[in-house]
Each structure stands twice: as structure tokens, then as C-alpha cells.
Amino acid sequence: MNFEFSDEQNLLREQAHGFLAEHCPMSKVRAVLDGEQSADLELWQKIAEMGWTATTIPEEFGGLGLSYLELAVIAEELGRAVAPTPFSSSVYLATEALLLAGSTEQKERWLPKLASGEAIGTFAISEGPSRATPANLQTAAQGGALNGSKAAVPDGDIADVAIVVAKADGGDGASLQLVELDGEGVSIRPQRTLDFSRSHARLTFADAPCEPLGHPGEGWAHTERLFDRAAVLFAWEQVGGAEAALEMAKEYAMGRYAFGRPIASYQAIKHKLAEAYVKNTLARSNGYYGAWALNTGAAELPLAAATARVSAIQAYYYASKENIQTHGGMGYTWEFDCQFHYRRAKLLSVNIGSEGLWQDKLVTALEQANAA
């Protein structure tokens, strides 16, 4: 039994932690929150120089050819730091979509740029406030031209390229389309977001040039597979964030006195933080399971991913809201940092589908395992 990260992976975690402590302190997150920019692109460039954006890209396409365990380690630290970068959109979604469904030519064209951080990618699926399905897609591609509109596209205002889920005739009813966002027929409207440090945009396509990624009619299957993989990496960001939120609550409770003693000595606070520890521990252990399944390509990835995802959504939501509560009135101020985790927790919990969607996927996977 060796259900642990390797010494090298743990070393990478330490390096990532140190790097982000230096280059992404909370003051940087706050600068994005207070400023005009929708991401810290200077930090993004430094992250790319570290090679993190190239982690799982094979060496032949300009990447490092490392495993998903390395990427999970990096994700955890990015989550802990609430990093204001398009990492999840560009790496877990756009890069992975290309790796999953792209032709060699598409990989050769895009992966080196995504690896170096020169290009930012994203993935566009939602068209509005409903759960996306192949049946309700309106965006459609015909003869290399894309028409329609996508909403809540993460980092859509700063991305160079988007993988768009579009309606397809036959097959599973969907296709993936690769669209260059600086091309003709693409208009981009930034949307105000809950987490100011992670912008979203509405992308509208009017005969925008597009090219299929993978076979049309397999787009939904690719999306599901992509999201299963991304769910594990999102979960590690959430686990990192949840632990940081708990740590923040703990530090404050130890130093804050009420009725002559630290509030951390009251059971009402202790039990709340113990509950956060329990949720975080369950989420972390499920994250291990997810990382193992992702890394080995195990058949049980859909179950492992959904388990990691649901667990992590719940842990980060709880830790982020109870962190504010533990801080009392000061936790509700703009000046305090509690808001960053609260905003990020919710953003991550709806990106790539809500808790309810993943609970549903989880039980579907259980039913399939039970029937097998």
C-alpha cells in the first residue's frame, strides 16, 4: 500500500507553496479585486515560467510530460492561494480538451502556446441559468461557421482560444468546436462575477470561423470525460482553499478574546472548526482517490471524480462560510480576506457543474457499478 504522493511530488508542493507565498500573497488577490484587471497576468506569466501550465502536456508538444499527480499538487496550492489566474480554464479544460480530442495538427498548433502561457484557453458550455444538456444547446456549427451565444465562460474576456460545445446532428447531439477569440464574428462581453478575480464573459458568435475538435456527434461524450478529469483537479483547488479558510478561522479564533478568553476555547467555535476539519479530511482523502483514478486512467474515474468533487464542494463551502462566521463582524468587511474564499468557493462549485449535477453523476456511477 502506497496511497501517498511521492517525495518528489511533496517537494513540488513545497516549492509551489513557497512560490505562491512570494508571488501571490493575499495582497495580490486584493489588488485584482480592487483594480480594473480581471486577472493577475503578471502572476500568470510567472506561473507559466515555472512550467505549471505545461505539466501534463507531452514533451513533443512543448510540455513537461509529468503526471496528473503533479498537477493535483499544483492545483492544491493554487487553491490555497486563491490565485487570480485563468489556470483552471486554460489547463484543466482547454489543454485537456485538446489532449483528449484534438488532432495531431491541432495539438501541434495549440499545445506549445498553452504550455508556455503565451495563449490562454477556455471551455464554453453554458448558455444561461440552466443545466446544459445536448438537447438544450442552441449554439450550432455549420460549414466551419459558428452561431449562437455562450454565457458564463470562465476567463472568456482574456482567453485567446475557446473550445465550444455546439449542437450537432446525430451521434450524441453535440460537437466540440475550436474557436479563436480574436477572429471575425466573435464578440466578447465581460460579465460581472461573484469572484472578481476570476472573470467570466458572454461570447457571441456570428458566423465565427470554427473547426471541430474530435468527431462531431461525440462532443457530449468528450465533455463528460473532460469534466470527470477536470473535476479531480478542481477538487484539489477546493481542498487547498478549504484548508486555508480553516487555517484562517483558527488563527483568528486563537487571538480573538470574548468574555475574558479566546473564542477558540468555546465549544461552539471548537465544534464548528472540528466539523470543518472532518469535511476537509474527507475531501482530501476522496481527492487522493480521484487523483489515483485520473492518473491511472481507472475505469472507476467517473465515480472517483464525482466523489472527490461533491466532497470538495461541500468542504470548501462550509469552511469558507464558517470562516466568516468565526471572524464575526470583521469577517464581513471588505478589509478582511475572508471574502476571497467565500467568493472562490462558490465560483469553483458552479464551474463545471453544480453539487446537484455531480451528486446525480455519482449515483449514476454507483448504479452502473451495482449492475455490473
Binding site: N2, F3, M254, K270, L273, V278, T281, W292, T296, N370
Partner: protein, 404 residues
């Protein structure tokens, strides 16, 4: 990251499997025996072949195995499902480690092999009517008389006291000092004159534990573990072992039964499992049991490397017990009016959910209540301060008490 055994672990597993295959008692062997006889037969068979209490040193009846080998053995033995042995768990799991840490050499040689072989069964005499979560508030007193101590008082919640040969006992030897400082720790022969055991009927209708009364019971001073006044420290050794089980499945059999039930019963003429509210609950419980399972795996990895597992295992009971209660309650809801029927023939899963529903309140209290477990996580894992204690530094006999 992988789930595979190291070559040495795989060889050990193979050896364990081979022995179990040839030696697990057959149904015919067990048919005419009661549970105690079955337990003793299996334990003695393991002992004779060197498969009992395998982590203990050989000279005390064990095998000198490593922690990970113990886990492998447990996994392999568990594959045979429900082999009898629960009656030994307190003696082997709690009394023995305490003897090993605090006992004299002659104690270890005399008592440990018979604990391992199952010939002698031990119980734990700690809790009292006025000392549960606040164990150190216990009042049973011991007074020195020559080379002996005279014990008077009452213990409660003592599992297996009625069939035990020996007991571990913590008592108050000095009421004039603060509560933790006035305790001492002994073991005694449960057949000593003046020991009286009365079963407690639980709300489930079963009687698994007892009240134990002590009236002028005499214990030789040689059966003291630790110094006079050091009883609390010795008790901590026992309690740490109570809470140190690794790799628990987290109510896995109950979850599978619930999943089956949700696929069988209907809501508005459709299988219950198609209902989104049902799916959400199943998903959440799966996340918890999966989280416990892989938390166990993380601890096993530490053991496999010869390291001490981190504090993550402290969450086990606090997660598993309330979850089992909620799952049982929900399962009965899914049965609608039939949920109230507890009948081996008519109830789904032969009444498993009704039985769990009635048993679980005890699990949420025994071995540290949910609230105490949360305190332990908060204080020992997160490092939060204790609540101020009104009895701190005050002689025990001046501490205010309630009616109990």
C-alpha cells in the same frame, strides 16, 4: 501512488490467506456451540498457530508482526465475515496495551499469553454514574490496608463484566488533591468477594453491558499499574488504544443495503433511486464512506512505510456513527408505513435498518461521545485551547457536584 502490497507484504498476505483457508472453523464445527464457545475455539486455534494478537512480542503470545501486517491479517480474516471474537476486543485491545506499557514483567508473562489465547477475558471498569465524559470525576474509592487496597463504589457501562475473568480499574485513592492527581489504576480478579454485576437493559431491549458494584473488595497492591496518584496517565494509555482503530469501512454494508433498497422501493411508481432528493442523500453518504475508506488507506500507507499515521483517523467514529443513524432513519422513510415494522421476515434486509436505528444511539456515546470526539479534534489536532474548568486546581472533595 498505488494500492499494491510491497513484495514482503504480499508474501505475508499469502501466508495468512493460506493458513486461514485451512483453519477457519466450518459451520459444522460451530453448530452446537454458543457464541462464547465459538469465540474461544477460534481464538485458541489462532493462538496455537501463532496468528493471535500478531503484533505482540512472541514471548507474550504474539508473533512480533508489524503494524501493516496486523492490518493485512485483519483484512484477510474479515473476508470470512463475522468470525466470532468480539468478546476479546477490550482485553486484547485496551487492557493488554496498558499492561504492556505499565505492567511488571511477571504481570506480562502471567496475563498476556492467556489474553492472546482467549482463555481469559477482561473488561474495563472506568465509567461511573458521575464520571462519563468527565471520567476523572469518578468517585469509587480505594483505601490502603496493609499490602492491600479496599475498594468501594460503583462502575457503569461495563461491557462483558458478567463473563469477564479480570478487569482494569481506575479509582480514587486521594480525594484531597485535584481530581486528576488523586487516581490510581489496578487490575483485579472479577471473582473477588464483594464484586457484584447487574445487567443494564438498553433502549434497544438488549443488555450488552452492566453496572458493577464494589463492596469492600480487596486488591493486592502488587496489582497496581503505575504509581499511586498516577492513574490518570495510565488511563490515557488505555483510552488512546480505544480510539486507535484504523481502516474502518464506515458503515459500508448499511450503505449497500440502502442502495439496494432505493432501487427496490418506489416513489410515485418510480424506483426511489430516480428521485433527485434520494440521489443527493445517497451521494453525500457515499462521499463520507469513501472519504473514511481512503483516509484509512492514507494511514495504512504511513504504517507501510513504518511511520506513525497522522491525526486524520480521529474523524472515524464522529463521521460513521451519525451517518449510520441518518441512513437507517432514511431507509425507514423510504419504506413509508412499513418502516415501522421490525420483522425478520417482512422487513427489507431482514430488519437491518430498524436494528441499526436502535443500536446507533449507543455508538454515538460509547468510547467518547460525538461532542467529546469533536473536542479531541479541536484540541489535539487543531491545537485549540481547552475550555476553562471550574474544578481546575481544586481538591476533588471541594468540587461542586449535581444531584447525581
Amino acid at each position: 501512488m498505488d494500492f499494491n502490497d510491497t513484495p514482503a507484504e504480499a508474501a505475508f498476505r499469502e501466508e495468512a490467506r493460506a493458513w486461514l483457508k485451512d483453519n477457519v472453523p466450518t459451520e459444522a464445527e460451530l453448530a452446537d456451540l454458543n457464541l462464547m464457545q465459538q469465540s474461544k475455539l477460534w481464538q485458541k486455534r489462532k493462538y496455537d498457530a501463532g496468528w493471535a494478537c500478531i503484533r505482540w512480542p512472541k514471548e507474550y503470545g504474539g508473533r512480533g508482526a508489524t503494524a501493516i501486517e496486523q492490518v493485512i491479517w485483519n483484512q484477510e480474516e474479515a473476508k470470512y465475515g463475522g468470525l466470532p471474537g468480539g468478546v476479546f476486543s477490550i482485553g486484547q485491545g485496551m487492557a493488554a496495551p496498558t499492561l504492556m506499557t505499565w505492567g511488571k514483567e511477571e504481570h506480562k508473562q502471567r496475563y498476556l499469553p492467556k489474553l492472546a489465547s482467549g482463555e481469559e477475558i477482561w473488561c474495563q471498569l472506568f465509567s461511573e454514574p458521575a464520571g462519563g465524559s468527565d471520567l476523572a470525576a469518578l468517585r469509587t474509592k480505594a483505601e490502603k490496608d496493609g499490602d492491600e487496597w479496599v475498594i468501594n463504589g460503583q462502575k457503569i457501562w461495563t461491557s462483558g463484566a458478567h463473563y469477564s475473568d479480570y478487569g482494569i480499574l481506575v479509582v480514587r485513592t486521594d480525594p484531597n488533591v485535584p481530581k486528576h492527581k488523586g487516581l490510581s489504576y489496578f487490575f483485579l480478579d472479577m471473582k473477588s468477594p464483594g464484586v457484584e454485576t447487574k445487567p443494564i437493559k438498553q433502549l434497544s431491549g438488549d443488555a450488552n453491558f452492566n453496572e458493577v458494584y464494589f463492596t469492600d473488595v480487596r486488591i493486592p497492591d502488587s496489582q497496581r499499574l503505575g504509581e499511586v496518584g498516577q492513574g490518570w496517565q495510565v488511563s490515557i494509555t488505555t483510552l488512546m488504544n480505544e480510539r486507535a482503530s484504523i481502516g474502518g469501512g464506515g458503515a459500508s454494508s448499511d450503505f449497500r443495503a440502502l442502495l439496494d433498497l432505493a432501487q427496490t422501493v418506489t416513489i410515485n411508481d418510480k424506483p426511489a433511486i430516480e428521485d433527485s432528493a434520494v440521489r443527493a442523500k445517497l451521494a453525500d453518504w457515499h462521499c463520507k464512506r469513501s472519504g473514511l475508506k481512503y483516509t484509512g488507506y492514507r494511514s495504512l500507507s504511513a504504517l507501510s512505510r513504518g511511520e506513525t499515521p497522522g491525526p486524520e483517523n480521529s474523524i472515524g467514529k464522529l463521521v460513521a456513527a451519525p451517518m449510520a443513524q441518518d441512513m437507517a432513519s432514511f431507509a425507514m422513510d423510504l419504506m413509508e408505513m412499513s418502516g415501522a415494522v421490525w420483522d425478520d421476515e417482512d422487513s427489507p434486509a431482514a430488519g437491518l435498518f430498524q436494528a441499526t436505528f436502535m443500536a446507533i444511539p449507543g455508538f454515538r456515546i460509547a468510547g467518547g461521545t460525538d461532542e467529546i470526539m469533536a473536542n479531541i479534534i479541536a484540541e489535539r489536532v487543531l491545537g485549540l485551547p481547552q475550555e476553562p474548568r471550574l474544578d481546575k486546581g481544586i481538591p476533588f472533595n471541594e468540587v461542586p457536584t449535581g444531584a447525581g
